[in-house]
C-alpha cells in the first residue's frame, strides 16, 4: 500500500522522503525504455484497446434505445446476470472447499488433481460443452440416472446454462482461493485449535475471514467468466430465447441479421465488464495487495 517502500535506488536525496509521485517520476527518468521493447509494447496496447474504441465509435448511439428495445435484449441480459450469479454461487459452494482441500491437505495425487481442476481453464469451451453433454445428457453417465431417478434433465434448460457456466468459471475461483489460502498463515488455524476449535470451526471462523479478499476476487473473476460464456453454453444448453439464450449468444445471433443490434448488445456487455473491473480493483485487489 505504501509506495515509499518501492523507492528507486540511488541518490542521497532519499532521506527527505520524496512523495510517491516524485519517486515515480525519478524512476521513469532514470532508465530509458529500449525501442525494441517500446514499439511492440505500444503495438500490443493498440491491439488490445483499438477494438474497444472501434466498438464505441461504431455504436449506433442515436438508435441505441430502439435497438435495445427489441424484446430479446432484456430477457437475454437478465438471463445472463441470473445464470452467471447462480454459476458463481455454485462455484463458491463447491470451489472454496475444493481449494481448501488442495491448499491445506496432503494426499497422494494432489498435484495431479490440481492439474485436472485447472484443465477447464485451457480446454476449448466447446469441448467442455460436448463433455458435459456426454455426462449430463439424456443418455449420459449421470444424466440418465438423474432423469430416471428425479426426472431432471439438464441439457437445453436454464439449469443447463448454469452448469455450463459453472464448469468453465469454477477453476478461476478455485485457483484464486487456493492462492489466497497458501498465502495466509496456517498457524492461525493452529492457534484456533489450541483454543478448542475443530478444523471446521477454525475454517469457518478464522480461515474464511482471512482469505475473504481472495474469495471475493475469485468470485468476481468467475462471475465475469460465466457472464461471457459462449461455447460450452451453446453446445450444452442450446440457444432458446428466454430460457437459454444469454447475452453472448444473443450478440452472436444478432450479428447475422441485425449488426447494429449486435453492436448495441456488445456495448451493454462491455459496460457491465468495466463495472465489474472497477468493483474488482476498488474493493478487492486494492485490499489484497
Amino acid at each position: 500500500m505504501t509506495s515509499n517502500t518501492t523507492a528507486p535506488a540511488g541518490g542521497g536525496s532519499q532521506r527527505t522522503a520524496p512523495g510517491p509521485a516524485r519517486v515515480r517520476r525519478l524512476a521513469r527518468r532514470g532508465g530509458g525504455v529500449p525501442v525494441v521493447l517500446l514499439v511492440p509494447a505500444l503495438l500490443g496496447l493498440a491491439f488490445l484497446v483499438l477494438p474497444l474504441i472501434g466498438l464505441l465509435v461504431k455504436a449506433p448511439w442515436s438508435s441505441m434505445p430502439s435497438e435495445l428495445d427489441g424484446g430479446t435484449v432484456w430477457p437475454a441480459l437478465r438471463l445472463s446476470l441470473e445464470t452467471a450469479t447462480a454459476a458463481t454461487a455454485v462455484s463458491l459452494l463447491l470451489g472454496v472447499p475444493l481449494a481448501w482441500l488442495l491448499a491445506r491437505t496432503e494426499f497422494p495425487g494432489r498435484r495431479f488433481l490440481r492439474t485436472l481442476v485447472t484443465l477447464p481453464l485451457v480446454m476449448p469451451p466447446v469441448v467442455g460443452g460436448v463433455a458435459l453433454l456426454l455426462v449430463f445428457g439424456r443418455n449420459g453417465l449421470v444424466g440418465e440416472w438423474l432423469n430416471s431417478a428425479f426426472g431432471i434433465t439438464l441439457p437445453f434448460t436454464t439449469a443447463g446454462v448454469v452448469v455450463a457456466e459453472a464448469f468453465v468459471a469454477m477453476p478461476f475461483l478455485v485457483l484464486s482461493v487456493e492462492g489466497a489460502l497458501r498465502g495466509s498463515d496456517s498457524r492461525y488455524e493452529e492457534a484456533a485449535a489450541t483454543l478448542g476449535a475443530s478444523r471446521f470451526t477454525a475454517f469457518r471462523r478464522v480461515t474464511l475471514p482471512l482469505v475473504a479478499p481472495g474469495i471475493g476476487a475469485g468470485a468476481v473473476l468467475a462471475w465475469a467468466r460465466a457472464l461471457g460464456e459462449f461455447g460450452a453454453t451453446i453446445t450444452f444448453a442450446g440457444d432458446f430465447p428466454g430460457t437459454t439464450q444469454t447475452m453472448p449468444l444473443a450478440v452472436y445471433l444478432a450479428l447475422e441479421n441485425d449488426p447494429d443490434a449486435a453492436i448495441a448488445l456488445s456495448v451493454v456487455l462491455l459496460i457491465v465488464s468495466v463495472l465489474v473491473l472497477a468493483g474488482l480493483r476498488g474493493r478487492w485487489t486494492g485490499g489484497a495487495a
Partner: protein, 363 residues
C-alpha cells in the same frame, strides 16, 4: 479422529511426559514433569528442540513415541494408538508472535476460546471483558490486533490463552518479540499472572533471565536431549554443560577428582577446588574470581597458569577476557586493571584463581 473416553486418573496431577519426536534430521527425546501451580522453563539454544517439545505438548506436532499425561489423563501415547487432538486438550498457548486473529477485536480474540467451548456470545464476551480487565486492557477491547503495541498484544494473547481455564499453559518465547524496555514491564506482569495461575505452565525460552525470573524449575535442553533439570538457583550454581555455564557466566570444566584436586579432561591442568570428591566431577569458578598478573606471583594461589589474551570486550562495567593456555578461561577484570597491566590481544600473563572460589560437584 476419535476422542478417547477419559480414563480414570492413574497418575499424579500435572504433566508427566516423555516426548519423542523423530523427524529424520532431528530427534527429540525429553522427559518433563511439572506439578500444578509450577512454572517449568525449557531453556536451550536455538534449534535445541524447545519449540518442538512445546508443540508436542499442545498436540500440534504428533509424538512418534513416548507418552504424555496431564492431570492423570493420557493425552497421547503412540504405542497405544492414543491421541487426543489439540482442540480437545485443556491447553492454552501463547505463541511467539502471538497469532492474534487479525480480523477480530481484542475482545473477540479473548472470547474465541470461550465460544468454542460452548459459551453463548454474550456470556463469552462478558467473560472476555473480565479477562481483558485483569491484564489491564479493558480500554482496548474494541481494538484490532494491528492497533496494539507489542506489549499489549502479548497481554491479549495471554488473556486469550488463560480465558478457557487451561490445565496446561504453554508460552513460546513470550518476550522475544518485545523491545528491551517493554520486556522488563511485561516480564513483571507475566510473573504476576503466572503466580496466580493454579495449573501447570511451561515456558520456552533461550533467555536465561526470563527463565530465572519466571520459572520455579528449569529443564535445559540441548540437541533434543535434557542436559540438566533443577531449580534456577541450583542450575546457576552447578551448571552441567558449557551452554548453561556461559548463560550463568561460569567457567566450567569436567574432570576427575581426587580429594580437592581435579584433573581436567582434555587439558594438562589441575584445578584445586573448595570441595573434596572422588571420581568424575564438574568444576566451576566465576570469571570475577580470576586475577591476572604481569609476573608470576609469589603468593599462595595454587591455581596458577600462564595464559595468552585471545580477545577482550566490554561487558557491563567490566572487561571480559578470553584467555587461552593450559585451560580456556573467561575472566572479568576492571578497565583500570586492563590499563595497569597494559593488556592487549596476544598479551602473555599469569592467571590465578583462589581454591576457595572454585567449586566441584559430582558429574
Amino acid at each position: 479422529m476419535s476422542t478417547p473416553a477419559p480414563q480414570p486418573p492413574t497418575e499424579a496431577a500435572g504433566v508427566e511426559a516423555r516426548l519423542v519426536v523423530d523427524r529424520g534430521d532431528f530427534s527429540l527425546d525429553v522427559g518433563l514433569t511439572a506439578r500444578p501451580g509450577e512454572v517449568l522453563a525449557l531453556l536451550g539454544p536455538n534449534g535445541a528442540g524447545k519449540t518442538t517439545a512445546l508443540r508436542a505438548l499442545a498436540g500440534l506436532t504428533p509424538l512418534t513415541d513416548g507418552r504424555l499425561s496431564l492431570d492423570g489423563v493420557v493425552l497421547e501415547e503412540p504405542a497405544a494408538r492414543l491421541r487426543v487432538p489439540t482442540e480437545n486438550r485443556p491447553v492454552g498457548v501463547v505463541f511467539q508472535d502471538y497469532l492474534l486473529f487479525p480480523h477480530l477485536s481484542a475482545l473477540d480474540n479473548v472470547a474465541f476460546g470461550l465460544r468454542t467451548r460452548g459459551l453463548r456470545r454474550a456470556e463469552a464476551r462478558a467473560e472476555a471483558a473480565h479477562w481483558l480487565e485483569r491484564v489491564g486492557l479493558a480500554d482496548h477491547a474494541a481494538a484490532r490486533p494491528r492497533a496494539l503495541s507489542g506489549g499489549q498484544a502479548q497481554r491479549v494473547a495471554l488473556a486469550r490463552a488463560l480465558a478457557p481455564k487451561p490445565r496446561l499453559l504453554l508460552l513460546d518465547e513470550p518476550m522475544s518479540a518485545l523491545d528491551a524496555r517493554t520486556r522488563l514491564d511485561v516480564r513483571a506482569q507475566l510473573r504476576r499472572h503466572l503466580a496466580d495461575f493454579d495449573a501447570v505452565a511451561v515456558l520456552v525460552t533461550h533467555d536465561p533471565l526470563d527463565a530465572m525470573v519466571l520459572a520455579d524449575r528449569l529443564t535445559v535442553i540441548e540437541g533434543g536431549r535434557v542436559v540438566q533439570h533443577g531449580t534456577p538457583a541450583d542450575i546457576a550454581r552447578h551448571p552441567r554443560s558449557d551452554y548453561v555455564a556461559r548463560l550463568v557466566g561460569l567457567n566450567l570444566y569436567r574432570g576427575l577428582a581426587q580429594e580437592q584436586e581435579v584433573r581436567l579432561d582434555g587439558a594438562q591442568a589441575v584445578l584445586v577446588t573448595a570441595e573434596s570428591h572422588s571420581g568424575p566431577v564438574f568444576a566451576a569458578f566465576p570469571p570475577s574470581a580470576v586475577t591476572l598478573h604481569r609476573e608470576r606471583p609469589d603468593g599462595s594461589a595454587r591455581n596458577l597458569w600462564p595464559v595468552t589474551v585471545r580477545g577482550m570486550e566490554l561487558h557491563g562495567d567490566q572487561v571480559r577476557l578470553d584467555l587461552a593456555g593450559a585451560l580456556p578461561i573467561t575472566a572479568d577484570i576492571t578497565p583500570a586493571a586492563v590499563a595497569e597491566l597494559g593488556l592487549h590481544e596476544g598479551s602473555e600473563v599469569w592467571a590465578a584463581v583462589k581454591a576457595t572460589a572454585a567449586h566441584s560437584y559430582p558429574a
